[in-house]
């Protein structure tokens, strides 16, 4: 009897394993998920993971079945294609990379496994909304979108210039469904728009919203054409990065008197992607300043260097958070030799100058000399001045210095010569201060010398010479005939 019971039991167990709903697909999906997704999303899909303290925004918790990035109406689960899109394209500006190494079948298996963490949520398949053809961007459409941006109150979270600096975005209750503080998107930075930066992506986000966040669906409150107009306006706010190695500083008659002078907008710029300071404690794994834009101008007497970056909330140190701060770093000895000081705060043998500005002393800049991160001294000299502005989510700090300071120990900036510089930026709202902040690698700036006269004179002269030669050769050959 016992043996029969045991046999039946064994058969039932075997059969149930055979009929498990996810089947063989799941074992491959689970293996891939555990290998390549669980480090961030957790082995149980609950985002309790190795990286949860090292990622901003945090990895998605799959157990609630709530997905931010969907093509389906609010409340519906995402389609398989939606989840596949995230796996394939990644989420720019987060630690979710595009996974292009897997085959389509592998991604399919991963998606199937991800869905098992919240089976109830996927009982009824979501039906994607129709995304038509985007209208052509025109000044009128952008103006209409801008009007809607205010009318639909987008501005309250995303700010007038779309830098994600709206008032509401900084209230204590601005959190997602998991209780984590979140930030509205900065539309001027297309490289970190999680849901994609194409006009269709923006339209989709406006239409269906982002589940689990204060970004709701505008499908019912805005007409289709209005959502397109809004998307076209938001797209127009995006800035393209211009990366490079060296910033060319042009000569000008004078330097604009204010940091927010529109004249600065037409000055050539270069963008510096920022990393975190990870070499020394305290380290910064989650810097929020991802990009710093630099520009420069010089006159016969003066050099001006502008640093510009998005900061959603300015902190001057009075609200219990550290003051926002930025410094430029120059080697004390500028040589054409390849060896530069260590890129962050130099070293004993190769000191660097820091032009250190803090929002707590707005009009002041402290000149320092650093011989490594633990050896920083304030200098008594006052060669450098700053003018600053903070407008609608955008910081601008303009450093000015005489071309020649006369100081023996000062570095010289000679037209035509490349001077290394690097930048560190600290966002007080993100708890950054001291050496915990965003850093850039070494770049160069070069004051572009005026073009030598020979460039205008020699080429036409040579052309004329060759022409004369050709004519005379032709004549002499003809006369011989």
């Amino acid at each position: 009897m016992k043996r029969i019971l045991l046999t039946i039991l064994l058969t039932v167990v075997l059969c149930s394993a055979w009929y498990s709903p996810a089947g063989a697909d799941d074992s491959q999906g689970k293996k891939l998920y555990n290998g390549w997704c669980a480090q961030c999303h957790g082995y149980d899909g609950d985002a309790k993971s190795y990286t949860d303290k090292f990622s901003v925004p945090k990895p998605r918790d799959f157990t609630m079945g709530t997905y931010k990035f969907r093509s389906t109406p609010s409340g519906d689960p995402p389609t398989d294609a939606d989840i596949t899109k995230v796996v394939r394209d990644g989420n720019p500006g987060t630690s979710m990379p595009p996974w292009d190494r897997f085959t389509d079948d592998e991604v399919k298996a991963i998606v199937a496994h991800v869905k098992t963490f919240a089976p109830d949520a996927f009982k009824d398949a979501g039906k994607p909304i129709t995304i038509g053809t985007p209208p052509k961007a025109s000044a009128d459409l952008i103006a209409k979108g801008k009007e809607l941006f205010n009318k639909a109150k987008c501005v309250e979270c995303h700010g007038t210039a779309g830098r994600g600096n709206g008032e509401k975005g900084w209230q204590d209750n601005f959190k997602n469904d998991w209780g984590d503080s979140i930030m509205p998107a900065d539309y001027t930075h297309p490289w970190e728009l999680r849901n994609g930066s194409a006009v269709e992506d923006i339209y989709r986000t406006i239409s269906v919203g982002l589940s689990g966040t204060p970004m709701t669906s505008y499908m019912d409150s805005l007409k289709d054409e209005d959502r397109w107009a809004l998307a076209v306006f938001i797209k127009s706010l995006q800035q393209q990065r211009k990366l490079g190695v060296a910033l060319k500083v042009k000569k000008a008659a004078s330097i604009p008197a204010k940091a927010d002078d529109p004249a600065w907008d037409s000055v050539e710029f270069m963008d510096l992607p920022m990393g975190g300071q990870l070499m020394f404690e305290p380290r910064d794994f989650t810097p929020l300043i991802t990009n710093v834009r630099v520009r420069g101008l010089y006159t016969d007497k003066e050099l001006a260097f502008m640093v510009e970056w998005s900061d959603k909330k300015p902190n001057n140190g009075s609200d219990g958070k550290p003051a926002d701060s930025i410094w430029i770093q120059f080697p004390v000895k500028v040589t054409e030799a390849v060896e530069k000081p260590y890129f962050f705060m130099g070293d004993k043998k190769h000191p660097v100058f820091l032009w250190n500005w803090k929002a707590s002393a707005a009009g002041d800049v402290v000149e320092q000399i650093a011989k490594g991160n633990e050896n920083v001294e304030d200098l008594p000299k006052k060669d450098v001045t700053v003018i600053t502005s903070y407008n609608d989510g955008l910081y601008r700090v303009v450093y000015k210095r005489a071309l020649k300071t006369g100081g023996k120990d000062d570095f010289e900036v000679i037209p035509g010569k490349f001077v290394p510089f690097s930048i560190a930026a600290f966002d007080g709202q993100n708890g950054e201060s001291g050496i915990k902040g965003a850093v850039s690698a070494w770049y160069y700036l070069m004051l572009e010398p005026s073009t030598p006269l020979k460039v205008y004179v020699l080429p036409p002269l040579v052309a004329l010479f060759v022409l004369v030669g050709g004519v005379s050769l032709s004549r002499s050959l003809k006369s011989k005939k």
């Binding site: 480090q39 500006g93 630690s95 990379p97 965003a438």
Partner: protein
Amino acid sequence: MLKIYPIIAAIGLLITVVSVFKKSPFFNFLGLLTLIYGLLKSAGLFMPPFPGQVITMYMAMSVFSLFIYFSIQEKTFEAFLEPMRAVLADDNKLILRILIVFIAIPVFAGYITYEKVKPNYEPPVSARIVHPEPVSSIEFRGKPITIIGLENPLRKDTANFEKNFEAGKKIYYQNCFYCHGDDLDGRGHLSQGYNPVPLPFRGTDTIAQLPESFVFWRVAKGWRGLPSGSGPWNSSMPSFEDFLTEDEIWQVIIFIYEATGNKPRS
């Protein structure tokens, strides 16, 4: 872009063949030069392209030797010069004369001069040695460790291999992934900010070429431990002896080899 060069070579070959039939040494000369140039540039399709200077040198040699070849016999040289003479002096070639001799060549000479005299400011390029000569021994938190011949002690502990792999995975994602990438491909979300950019562990040109002892040394000492001559690279690689124990470094090394399917060189 590179694909245009085989076409240039083919055109050169065509001109050469046609000119042989038409008995025109001048066009033969031009055709051969075009063919050689096209071939030299096409090499870039199969191997690292020749540097511009090398191409200039080869072309100069070709011009020189072909000129000797075509000028060595009086009759051939006469035929060689004929088209040039015709363009310069023939009355019924006036339009061609104006186009080539009076316009194209002077403009070209002016352009070449402009390219030569215009100021060209290039920032200094820094060279670096990617795999420096390994040191023979290091001091790890005050304890001397011989690097040459050192093996990963955790590889012998086969019973705990899974445990060490998982521990290594955790260490990787708490210390390395922001730079070296979720997928160990060197494209972590902070990687763009640094120069040199973080190394990928996938592929055959980094850890696959190294013994584990080398990787241990690089992880333990980071940028600060680079031998003089190959440093400091401005690397943002920390000295992980500040943050990890010896065993933890061996664990993470196991993870990066296993996860990328690479085998350490012995």
